[in-house]
């Protein structure tokens, strides 16, 4: 069982090792060290998982304490790990998908001048993410929460020479801080109400606190979740985060970190149980985010931006599940999404790599002939996310929509429409990239599209690798090296068969049973009859298939359909422009005014007093000599007078 310590310790060791010797190990050895670190962490997780499986369902929660982190008065926080079915499920896919992405990065980052630095950050990220999910109290979770945020910042602005990457990194961190504000206050409230931040201490007695307190805690934690998991209104950082290297987008901004908010909600489920209205809000925010992001994804030209909005949309589904009380469905979708979205991102990376840093889908086409493995695996990912019957996404999305149906029909309609849109925009992407006519031979046009001025869309599909930036020689696209293809194939297997984890047929529902000790019992039973479930599942599936057919017939023939790419969607409904005005221009105004007040009013008063004294001095027979000792003398004299007065009064 002590293998549990190794789960976070191994990536930490990899991080320390690479900080010290990374430069000497260099390319590619540093990458292998990092991959080994997280790979062995996966093994440790698997061992722990097997151990838990061997125990009774009631005894599958084990706390492993290390040391007391903070201890002040009645406030005690231990650095402890909570090993239970939920945290181990998270660890399994974090380390599993993480290992594959590390492996992929060895090839992808080859030749980068800061190669070893990249793996330093990647290992630190893995450590932080594992602390986040393994922490046995809110504060250790917050440690991981902030750690992954910092790593995200480092990695988004990894190619910091590029202004846009630097800005995007900062934007991600600051936006997340708004969410962290909620997390922190929720922590204070929790401590105030229960005197503890440890999950197994305060969650069981969640019902004892006042309803107002519980609602406040739930709302504030959800604010934190909205930041980390890119939900309305704090989603704006995620599309920009695509400035980071593609493996980062796959690992942090698709498969793992962005699911942390969903994890937090699942972890707090015993408390959320007492705040049904907050759950309603969670469901609605999730559903609206899912739909909203899906519409934007329909009109993006950048291969990664489509996937970024798609991720926001899919995370919306997970919150819809949480809000409907279907925590297991949320976790299930989190796992299947990790498979197929990581696959899609890594596939996109292979395409970008093969086309020498081209990211504009309008300049791709027919690539299936040149990159057969990438194309085949990408197609599996596409079908999985679109909800094609039998694939991973089909099962998990089906669970969520069934739960939504049971919760509110309106939510289900939004979810179903989103499912159709998802199938449509992913089909558009596949058609533009892998089918149709090859367009990468044409000369680069002066400018493409009118939307490029918006902050959101990349002004120019810039070279990802700064190393060979600026060189766009028209070369034949080529397939990625084997090191990058292996992860694609493994993830494709996950995207194909991930649904097996939780098939809705009695004993086949492994996740349902496995997570029951943590998530069961608190969630309200969802009353959806079997026949209804099949019916609504069929409707959604037919919707998705129609969307695929329509999408394919349009986008494989013509790459330009202005009617289907309205400017408002290209500009992401103008939200970024609005935020930029409110917080950029508005914030700058407030700050500048404060500085002006400081200089003119407050310091002005001080200097004014000084001038007044000086004037009085000049008038009063030039006592003012400008020497400090004279000033001091004057003040000392004044003090003596006051002293004398006080002394007399005191004596009297």
């Amino acid at each position: 069982m002590n293998a549990a310590y190794l789960i976070p310790a191994l990536p930490l060791a990899g991080f320390v090792l690479l900080v010290l010797f990374g430069r000497k190990l260099a390319d590619p050895l540093a990458g292998w060290v990092a991959t080994l670190a997280i790979g062995s962490s996966f093994v440790a997780t698997a061992v722990t998982f097997a151990y838990l499986l061997g125990r009774d369902a009631e005894h599958r929660a084990v706390t492993k304490s290390m040391f007391t982190w903070l201890s002040v008065g009645g406030f005690q926080v231990k650095a402890s790990l909570l090993v239970d079915p939920l945290s181990i499920t998270m660890c399994l896919f974090v380390t599993g998908v993480g290992t594959l992405i590390h492996l992929y990065s060895i090839g992808y980052m080859h030749g980068d001048p800061r190669y070893s630095r990249f793996f330093v950050y990647l290992n630190l990220f893995a450590f932080s993410m594992l602390m986040l999910v393994l922490g046995d109290n809110l504060l250790i979770t917050f440690l991981g929460w902030e750690g992954v945020g910092a790593c995200s910042y480092f990695l988004i602005s990894f190619w910091f020479e590029r202004e846009s990457a630097a800005v995007a990194g900062k934007k991600a961190f600051v936006t997340n801080r708004v969410g962290d504000f909620g997390f922190l206050i929720a922590t204070f409230l929790t401590f105030g109400a229960f005197g503890s931040l440890t999950y197994h201490e305060f969650l069981p007695k969640a019902g004892t606190a006042s309803h107002t307190t519980l609602v406040a805690i739930a709302l504030l934690l959800f604010l934190g979740a909205c930041g980390k998991s890119a939900q309305i209104p704090l989603y704006v950082w995620l599309p920009d985060a695509m400035e980071g290297p593609t493996p980062v987008s796959a690992l942090i901004h698709a498969a793992t970190m962005v699911t942390a908010g969903v994890y937090l909600m699942a972890r707090m489920s015993p408390l959320l149980h007492f705040t049904p209205h907050v759950l309603d809000l969670v469901a609605w925010i999730g559903a609206i985010t899912a739909l909203f992001a899906a519409t934007i994804a329909c009109a993006q030209d950048d291969i990664k931006k489509v996937l970024a909005y798609s991720t926001i949309s899919q995370l919306g589904y997970m919150f819809l599940a949480v809000g409907s009380g279907a925590y297991v469905a949320a976790v299930f979708h989190m796992v299947t999404h990790a498979f197929f979205k990581a696959l899609l991102f890594l596939g996109a990376g292979a395409v970008i790599h093969g086309l020498h840093d081209e990211q504009d889908m309008k300049r791709m086409g027919a690539l299936r002939k040149y990159m057969p493995v990438t194309a085949a695996t990408f197609i599996i990912g596409w079908l999985a996310i679109s909800g094609f019957p039998g694939l991973a996404g089909f099962w998990s999305k089906d669970d969520i929509l069934a739960a939504a149906w049971g919760h509110s029909k309106a939510l289900w309609v939004i979810g179903a429409v989103t499912a159709g849109l998802t199938a449509y925009y992913m089909t558009r992407q596949v058609a533009l990239v892998f089918f149709g006519q090859p367009r990468w031979k044409e000369a680069r046009p002066e400018h493409h599209g009118a939307a490029d001025k918006a902050e959101l869309t990349t002004p120019e599909p810039v070279a990802e690798h700064t190393a060979d930036a600026g060189e766009h020689h028209p070369v034949e696209p080529h397939e990625a090296p084997p090191l990058m293809l292996i992860p694609l194939v493994v993830l494709a297997v996950g995207a194909l068969f991930g649904g097996l984890l939780n098939l809705p047929f009695g004993t086949w529902a492994f996740l349902e049973r496995w997570l029951h000790p943590v998530l069961g019992g608190v969630a309200p039973e969802i009353h959806v009859a079997g026949s209804t479930k099949i019916g609504i599942g069929a409707v959604v599936t037919v919707l998705a298939l129609i969307a695929i057919v329509i999408g394919f017939s349009i986008w494989s023939r013509r790459p330009e359909n202005p009617a289907l790419e309205p400017l408002v969607l290209k500009k992401a409904w103008g939200v970024d422009a609005l935020y930029s005005f409110l917080f950029g221009t508005g914030g700058a105004f407030v700050a500048a005014e404060s500085a002006a007040v400081d200089k003119q009013v407050i310091d002005g008063a001080v200097n004014g007093t000084g001038s007044l004294v000086r004037l009085a001095g000049r008038e009063g027979r030039r006592l003012q000599t400008g020497y400090v000792r004279n000033y001091a003398l004057g003040i000392a004299g004044g003090v003596v007078v006051i002293l004398g007065y006080v002394a007399v009064r005191a004596g009297g």
Partner: protein, 517 residues
């Protein structure tokens, strides 16, 4: 407790040595010929190192669960007025003493300076003695002497070795602080004389006065306010903070490091030791006033920092915000708030000290502090860029680094008694990320322009200076327990003192023993 104090005083006058050693070394420096600056520097450095080691000895020998003053040295001085040479250290002052001991040697060898080594080293050592004396003095008169003693060397350091606007800045610093001191002196004498009422003998002894609580409630409030004004200028608290950006910006690097790292703590330490301890009821009654000023300082300091064009001035304004947090925790009057405040004093000394070192290194290379003229430095100087990054994240309060421990405890401790103050103050956590990350982006990210392309990275000497600071940031962030365990007993005693003498009671969850361990 008294017994332990007596024996240690007999054994070896550790604290007296700590205070007098820098002065003795300064005297030695005085007789070294001006033509041998290298000897002057070496002697000065060794003197500061020896003093630093003695503070470490105090740390090691410090009894963890003792909540009173330790290593007390007590000698009657002017007995007619009840003035004595009395030094002692408890959990509240211990780490400030160690911080002083650590920062001074680094500041002495760290940045290059120009001009007369002899007076430079001399003033620095006198300044160190003044700071240590202030943290250790248990006699009001003695404290006031040391407190004022810090003023003179700092004035000369800014005026003698500062930048363009040094004359204005040093004068402003001097007069401003003296103005505050005048209030404090009046308050102090009022307290001492009024405490003789009822046949008590006159005394300047801190503990005796604190135990006596002889002042009427209204009088105590006025006297507390006089002290508070004196310390508020030193902290500095909004709205008496405007000397700080000028002094910080114009001071030489070492001066800024000491000013931010140590001198500002005299203000926050004073509020704690001479405000809360001497006037528990007045402090509890007037807490909303100080909390309000603290919260304004946190948000307003951060906003003003955002738009600064000078990197050093930006760091200076960030101090206004950080010190606001410390005052907030202090006047929350809970165990967590007070302990967090003390931890944060140490944290601020380390992180802001480190930031000033780093800004100094940039200035030495580029001869500008204007953010607009700097860019792409992470590419030019990767090591300096990464060091700055770590220090910045510590300053922003990233968990795992020191800043978080202090900030979190302060906010938690405030929240349980003064909910809305804590909520507003927590926005400071967002704002800190805004101004520091934005500055980092402009200075370190991007493609370096021609002037910024060929700067040498950190030297070994510079790395050696940053190493202990960054090491402590990580250590205190991951394992603050040894520090907290030493601070807590004294803080709990202080909270108890406040509870005994006022109607204030800290909430049950905050107190020890409120729950099963």
């Amino acid at each position: 407790m008294m017994l332990a104090a007596e024996t240690s005083a007999v054994a070896f006058p550790l604290l007296t040595t700590i205070v007098l050693l820098p002065i003795a070394v300064a005297a030695v420096v005085l007789v070294i010929p001006r033509s041998r600056p290298e000897i002057v520097k070496l002697v000065g450095f060794l003197g500061a190192v020896a003093t630093g080691l003695l503070t470490i000895v105090a740390l090691v020998e410090f009894k963890v669960h003792d909540n009173g003053f330790q290593f007390v040295s007590h000698h009657s001085w002017i007995s007619d007025f009840g003035i004595s040479w009395k030094l002692g250290v408890d959990g509240i002052s211990l780490f400030l003493v160690v911080l002083t001991g650590v920062l001074f040697p680094l500041a002495l060898v760290g940045p290059k300076f120009h001009g007369d080594a002899k007076s430079w080293v001399g003033w620095m050592l006198v300044l160190e003695a003044g700071c240590l004396g202030s943290f250790l003095a248990l006699d009001l008169f003695l404290f006031f002497l040391f407190f004022e003693l810090t003023l003179v060397p700092m004035y000369f350091i800014i005026a003698g070795w500062g930048y363009e606007n040094r004359v204005y800045a040093s004068l402003k610093f001097f007069l401003y602080t003296l103005f505050g001191s005048a209030f404090m002196l009046v308050g102090m004498l009022a307290l001492v004389f009024l405490s003789t009422k009822g046949g008590h003998h006159i005394t300047f002894d801190l503990e005796t006065l604190a135990d006596r609580q002889a002042l009427a409630a209204t009088t105590a409030r006025w006297v507390f306010l006089a002290f508070a004004i004196g310390f508020a200028v030193k902290v500095p608290l909004f709205p008496v903070h405007t000397w700080l950006p000028d002094a910080h910006t114009e001071a030489p690097t070492a001066g800024s490091v000491i000013l931010a790292g140590v001198l500002l703590k005299l203000g926050t330490y004073g509020l704690l030791r001479f405000g809360v301890y001497l006037f528990p009821k007045a402090a509890a009654d007037l807490a909303p006033l100080l909390l309000t000023l603290a919260v304004i300082g946190i948000t307003y300091g951060a906003l003003v920092a955002t738009v600064q064009r000078d990197l050093k001035r930006l760091v200076a304004y960030s101090s206004v915000a950080h010190l606001g947090f410390i005052v907030l925790g202090t006047f929350a009057l809970t165990t967590q708030g007070l302990s967090g405040g003390i931890v944060q004093m140490v944290n601020h000394g380390l992180t802001t000290g480190a930031l000033f070192f780093l800004v100094g290194m940039i200035y030495e290379r580029r001869h500008t502090r204007q953010i607009a003229e700097l860019n792409g430095l992470q590419k030019t100087m990767p090591f300096l860029g990464l060091t700055f990054l770590v220090v910045m994240l510590a300053s922003v309060g990233l968990p795992g680094l020191n800043g978080f421990v202090g900030e979190f405890l302060i906010l938690l401790g405030t929240f349980v008694t003064r909910r809305w103050y804590a909520v507003v103050a927590t926005t400071g956590v967002i704002l800190a990320a805004v101004y520091l990350l934005w500055a980092y982006q402009r200075v370190f990210h991007g493609e370096p322009s021609e002037e910024n392309r060929h700067l040498p990275d950190m030297t070994w000497r510079e790395k050696a200076i940053m190493l202990p600071l960054v090491g402590l940031m990580v250590f205190l962030g991951v394992y603050p327990r040894p520090v907290l365990d030493r601070i807590n007993p004294s803080v709990e005693r202080l909270v108890q003192h406040v509870e005994n003498h006022s109607t204030f009671q800290q909430p049950g969850v905050a107190a020890r023993g409120s729950q099963a361990p």
